[in-house]
Amino acid sequence: MRFQVIVAAVFWSGFVESRKVRGISSSYKRFYKERKSFLCIDGSKIIPFEQVNDDYCDCEDGSDEPGTSACPRGRFYCTNLGFRPHYIPSSRVNDGICDCCDASDEYNSPAHCQNTCWNLGQKERAYVEGQMRTLDEGLRLKQQLIEEGVLLWREKQAQLRELQQVAEDLQIKLEEHRRRKHEAERLKEQTLKALEAGDSGLRHQNRTETSIFQLLDSNKDGSITVDEVKTKVVLVHDEERLLSEDEALGLLGGGHQIDLTKFRRTLWDVLTRGDSVKIKDTPGSDDPHLEAADKAAEWEATNLKKVEEAYETVNMEISDLRKKLAIDYGTDWEFLFLNSQCYKLKVYEYIYTLCPFNQVTQKNTAGTEVSLGSLSISPHIHQPLEHISKVLPGQLSFPSEEVLPSAR
């Protein structure tokens, strides 16, 4: 009998030995050194060491039962060799649900838990490696984007400077052209005035039979034909209408062509009467000076317009570029590439178009498009993403900072 008790005690202490480690992290092992008695970690009570992990809660703080579910406020340490260790509430020990991947929490339960730590660890490691790769890739892409961004930034800056130079040049040119246009116009004005001043006399004096004959004799063959009449003579009351063949014939006295003598008796008479037909009015055309001045003014006006347009275009480009350059593209311009990109996203029946730094629109299957506003983006990198997810109904996942560039 006594022997049995001793044997039992030996077994018991052996059991205690194996049991006492259950649910404790290595940093707590010092509290659980095999002694005669155990002091609750909060110091509230001393109990025999056999009562550690004996499935009865003695300590207020639960420290005597780290490996059982006996204490309401206790916690159990999952060692999870090969994976991440962590604590679970004591109430999850032997509750039939596998919580620790090393199955250590279900040592006395019908749940058949497998040790999945190695697998989980593998997965975790693979995941972490994957994450690292993604991170590296992301960082590489980011670096690339930064470089591109910097280049692009510089390029844009250069472009801006260039444009500004062009604008300056254009400005000078513009001044020049304005001046030249002004000059040409002045000249034209002068010519016109001069002409008008002396010339009312000059014109009429020159209107001799011969000069008119010569004027009408376009091909200078010494006779006026029907065609020549038709091109140079018009009705007084209807200058627009061309004379008909018969009317011209009439003016020529019935013949198809007339010489100067005949002219004096026929057309000249009619012309000098001045009440039915007249010589087609082509002022200036007959004055080479005026014609030249006119052409020059016109030329200068056209030139000025071209320069003005160019100047406006360049200024607009400058303003555009300035606006773009004023946006914060992150500390290293890594988000510069997003400008001018758009992304489409399908959520149930809606298609969202997200253009960073620009518009967000929602389009339903019926094709109705609604603008959801502009996607302004501010200094810190994560804010734009939060911004987007607020605009949209839940459950959207957006690429993280590192992955985002690959969404390109």
Partner: protein, 926 residues
């Protein structure tokens, strides 16, 4: 031993006194007052006086089991048939119907669990004034007086109850409409035919002639029948824009009951009112008409979602009950000769030894059907509970998990949402058993379906919950979307199972899905088909850890009169008017049957219903409907559930936090603390309110809520045993104090004090309080004043885990609270927690008792067989003295137990006795 849940009631009142009144309420104009309900107005206009009814004693027939007797109305000569039965267990049943109704009048089926067994009635004496019958061995007698008719139940020289003593018996007999052409034709033809028949029969059938002669008065009377005056609302009635065609004309019934010596009456739920019923002389009667009342108002007699036509009357000598078995719209008037008397006035009466005895008078008015009333004669509260249970059955025995905490919201948006809420409970270490899905989980409010986007893989979701040993409830309402692409609708329509409108087409109303029709649950074949829809292969995406919630089953019809169905719709031979209050009862019955059938009859169902009737306790749980996040609503949840418990429906709860509006954090925490001690413990919230999962209010409040829920879980063994007890006896789980202290008048009104010569222990601090005193308990946000009565033993499982199922095999701690005699008693009930195998005697039921310093566990069910892995890990004896030695005896072995004694609180804790919870054992303190 008794539930201690009610014990908190008086104390709760203390801290709830800070209620904030608010002027937010129901639109009363949507619901009828008695004046707007033609039959109520008509009946109520009738004042007490001499009854026109006379008992025709010569027509009396007495067999071994029943007495029949004709009554005649001397005004209109219409005869009624009175049937009187003495039922087993001290119940008297009185049935009154028209002797020869024009067509049958509705008698409520399916509510009684069987035809109640009778006991012999014997005639004691008879003369021309009346008859006296004996009601068995006790000196109880029934006296039927002939002129005017009245019925008195006596015990010795005391009158327990009188019927028609105020002459308010009325029976609007069915009649032809006189102002119509068809009536005139039929009545003429009929009388001609009668004459012809009589000529022939007098020659050919002497038997018939004899019969006619035996009843000469009848002939004379019917031909002379008085011209009835036609009142408004007899043949047609309009309320707001709704008209009720009333093709059968007036059909109301009414009867008065006098209760001498009674000042306190309770019951007739559902009303948002005090536990003790008030007199109704200065307002409307209490109304029983199942209605979906939007934002209901407190402290008034308006109808709500359910109706149980049972009233309990109580005084220090006796408790009795009246069960008015009628499913039509019913109004109950209460008056009392002591109402309005001041306490001083009553004292004066007492001192002067004068005055009449107090008396309460009750009058029941129903729109149609017959008078079928069960007089439950007690004498103790528990006798009345058992009498009522013998008629309508007891509380169904729910799965243990359904006594845990339920997390509900309109709505959990999708599977990910469900998963993240589930994970939230683990993260914050709060136990829960059920997560609920409201109407949005369906595909366009088509019940039995899932939203294809949000709940694309319901089985995956359910499996995820099952892996955590948790469950889900999905809503199935009875209104069916009218949609030819919806299988359920097509089947119901093609089988002709829909309720018909008065013109014979399928009735259509407006509800959540838009246009909807309503299956006729009054048809047994319809119910069988409905039940079959819950089979796993019919209800796609369902699994064994998915249960059901029946809402809107009053039925709610958004565009119907008073938000319910038109009374002239047709259920086979009956109008909706006749059956209305039964609709919700049948919906839950059919649904529960479906859940039982899908498991092959093995698993216990869990079905929550909003509408209910007498007998609904057999099918699951009820809740108090769409309450609001206000202190007053928290307070009213107590009398509302107490009232339901008194009439058999123990599994009751209110939406924790309040359904409409958003609770303050303090209110929410208090509501959890209260809900944890009510039978059905579910948080619920309206779609428009912000999220309110327990961890959204800061770590301190999360901790308070966690603690309340954990207290619930430690007490689950006690709750489960209480439900088993309720299932066996029909006794309520949540009880007003008077049920426990029937002779202590101070408990009758359940004020904020209790007076009992007892000892009480605070269950948290073990602080001992003596009874018979007014006790004001200071509280903090973290304290829930709950007391264990001296003399009780309560088993708990203190290792609170993720869900009740996770705690199945956990050990018990027994809390033994000694009374002044240093004794205590309790019970322990254990079974598998979810099947009907307990009916096959697979359970453990033990009596735990402490007397003479010996605590023992005795088998209460020696013929039952069940084994448990659970053991007794600790015994805590409150009010003990220090022993020198504690010995455990089990299976013939003796062992010494370690113990710890806290002298300051007189608490003795026995360390790890270790016996199996199902074993016989004895612990001796020496």
């Amino acid at each position: 031993m008794a539930s201690f849940t009610e014990r908190m009631v008086p104390v709760l009142v203390l801290w709830l006194a800070v209620c904030l009144a608010e002027t937010w309420a129901v639109d009363r104009g949507n619901f009828k007052t008695c004046d707007q309900s033609a039959f109520c107005k008509r009946q109520r206009a009738l004042k007490p006086g001499e009854s026109p009814y006379r008992a025709l004693l010569e027509t009396m027939e007495l067999t071994n089991t029943r007495l029949t007797l004709q009554l005649i109305n001397d005004n209109n000569k219409v005869r009624l048939l009175l049937e009187l039965y003495r039922l087993q267990g001290n119940i008297t049943r009185v049935k009154i119907n028209e002797l020869k109704p024009l067509k049958p009048r509705y008698e409520v089926p399916d509510v009684l669990i069987r035809e109640p067994p009778t006991e012999p009635l014997s005639l004691l004496s008879q003369d021309e004034n009346g008859v006296v019958l004996s009601l068995g061995s006790e000196s109880q007698r029934v006296i039927i007086s002939a002129r005017p008719f009245r019925l008195d139940i006596m015990e010795g020289s005391d009158v327990l109850m009188s019927l028609n003593s105020r002459g308010l018996l009325t029976f609007e007999h069915l009649r032809m409409r006189k102002d119509t052409f068809s009536y005139k034709v039929t009545s003429t033809v009929a009388s001609v035919w009668d004459n012809i028949k009589r000529v022939f029969s007098s020659q050919a059938d002497p038997e018939a002639e004899k019969k006619e002669e035996a009843d000469p008065a009848n002939q004379a009377e019917t031909t002379k029948e008085e011209e009835e005056k036609v009142e408004d609302g007899m043949w047609e009635e309009t309320f707001k824009s709704h008209s009720d065609s009333k093709p059968n004309g007036p059909s109301a019934i009414s009867l008065d009951f006098s209760l001498p010596g009674v000042e306190h009456v309770y019951g007739i739920p559902e009303h948002a009112d005090t536990l003790r019923l008030k007199t109704t002389e200065n307002g409307d009667p209490y109304r029983l008409y199942n209605l979906d009342v939007f934002q209901y108002e407190l402290y008034n007699p308006m109808a709500l979602y359910g109706a149980v036509p049972v009233m309990l009357a109580h005084n220090t000598q006796r408790t009795t009950g009246i069960f008015w078995l009628n499913a039509a719209e019913t109004w109950v008037d209460i008056s009392s000769n002591t109402a309005g008397k001041t306490v001083f006035g009553k004292m004066l009466d007492y001192v002067q030894g004068s005055s009449e005895t107090p008396q309460t008078d009750v009058r029941w008015i129903s729109e149609s059907g017959i008078i079928d009333v069960f007089l439950m004669l007690g004498p103790t509260p528990k006798d009345v509970f058992s009498q009522y249970a013998s008629l309508t059955g007891t509380q169904s025995f729910p799965p243990l998990a359904s006594l845990g905490y339920h997390q509900c919201r309109w709505n959990y948006n999708d599977q990910e949402d469900v998963q993240s809420v589930d994970a939230g409970f683990d993260e914050h270490d709060i136990p829960y058993d059920f997560i609920w899905l409201d109407i949005e989980h369906t595909d366009g409010k088509r019940y039995f379906t899932w939203d294809p986007h949000k709940f694309a893989t319901p089985k995956e979701m359910l499996q995820g919950l099952m892996d955590k040993k948790r469950k889900l409830v999905a809503i199935v309402d009875p209104h069916i979307k009218v949609d030819s692409n919806y299988k359920i609708h097509n089947e119901i329509r093609s089988k002709g199972f829909y309720i018909k409108n008065k013109d014979g087409g399928d009735y259509e109303g407006w509800c959540w899905p838009g246009s909807a029709s309503y299956p006729d649950f009054f048809r047994a074949d319809m119910r069988a088909w409905w039940a079959s829809m819950f089979a796993y292969d019919q209800y796609e995406g369902s699994m064994e850890n998915m249960y059901t919630w029946n809402d809107m089953n009053e039925p709610s019809v958004f565009n119907g009169p008073e938000v319910t169905m038109h009374k002239d719709t047709v259920h086979g031979a009956w109008e909706h008017r006749d059956v209305h209050n039964l609709y919700g009862f049948y919906v839950q019955m059919a649904t529960a049957e479906g859940l039982i059938q899908r498991s092959g009859g093995i698993e216990r169902p869990f079905v929550l219903t909003r509408a209910f009737f007498a007998g609904s306790q057999r099918y699951g749980a009820v809740w108090t409907g769409d309450n609001a996040a206000e202190w007053d609503h928290l307070k009213i949840s107590i009398p509302m559930c107490l009232s339901l418990g008194l009439v058999g429906i123990s599994f009751c709860g209110a939406d924790v936090g309040g359904f409409f509006k958003s609770p303050s954090t303090e209110l929410l925490v208090r509501w959890y603390q209260t809900g944890a001690y009510q039978p059905f413990f579910r948080a619920h919230a309206h779609l428009d309110t912000p999220r309110r999962e327990p961890w959204l209010f800061g770590p301190e409040n999360t901790a308070l809520i966690r603690e309340a829920v954990r207290q619930r879980y430690t007490l689950l063994p006690y709750w489960y045993q209480q439900f088993y007890h309720a299932h066996r006896t029909g006794e309520p789980i949540m009880r007003p104090l008077w049920v426990e202290y029937p002779q202590d008048p101070a408990t009758f009104s359940c004020l904020n004090l209790f007076v009992c010569s007892q000892v009480w222990f605070d269950i948290h601090t073990f602080q001992k309080h003596n009874g018979a005193q007014n006790l004001y308990i200071p509280v903090t946000m973290s304290s829930i004043p709950v007391f264990q009565r001296g003399g009780s033993i309560i088993p708990r499982k203190v290792r609170v885990r993720r869900s009740s199922t996770c705690m199945e095999h956990d050990p018990y701690t027994l809390y033994v609270a000694l009374n002044l005699q240093r004794t205590a008693e309790g019970e322990l009930y254990i079974d598998d927690g979810h099947t009907f195998n307990y009916e096959k005697k697979e359970f453990i039921h033990r009596r735990l008792s402490f007397a003479k310093n010996i605590l023992s566990s005795v088998n209460l069910a020696p013929d039952a067989q069940f084994t448990t892995r659970s053991w007794i890990e600790r015994v805590v004896i409150l009010g003990a003295s220090k022993p020198s030695k504690v010995t455990l005896q089990t299976a013939g072995e003796y062992s010494q137990l370690e113990f710890d004694f806290d002298a300051s609180m007189s608490v003795l804790t026995l360390r790890k006795p270790g016996m199996n919870a199902g074993a016989d054992w004895t612990v001796m303190l020496q």
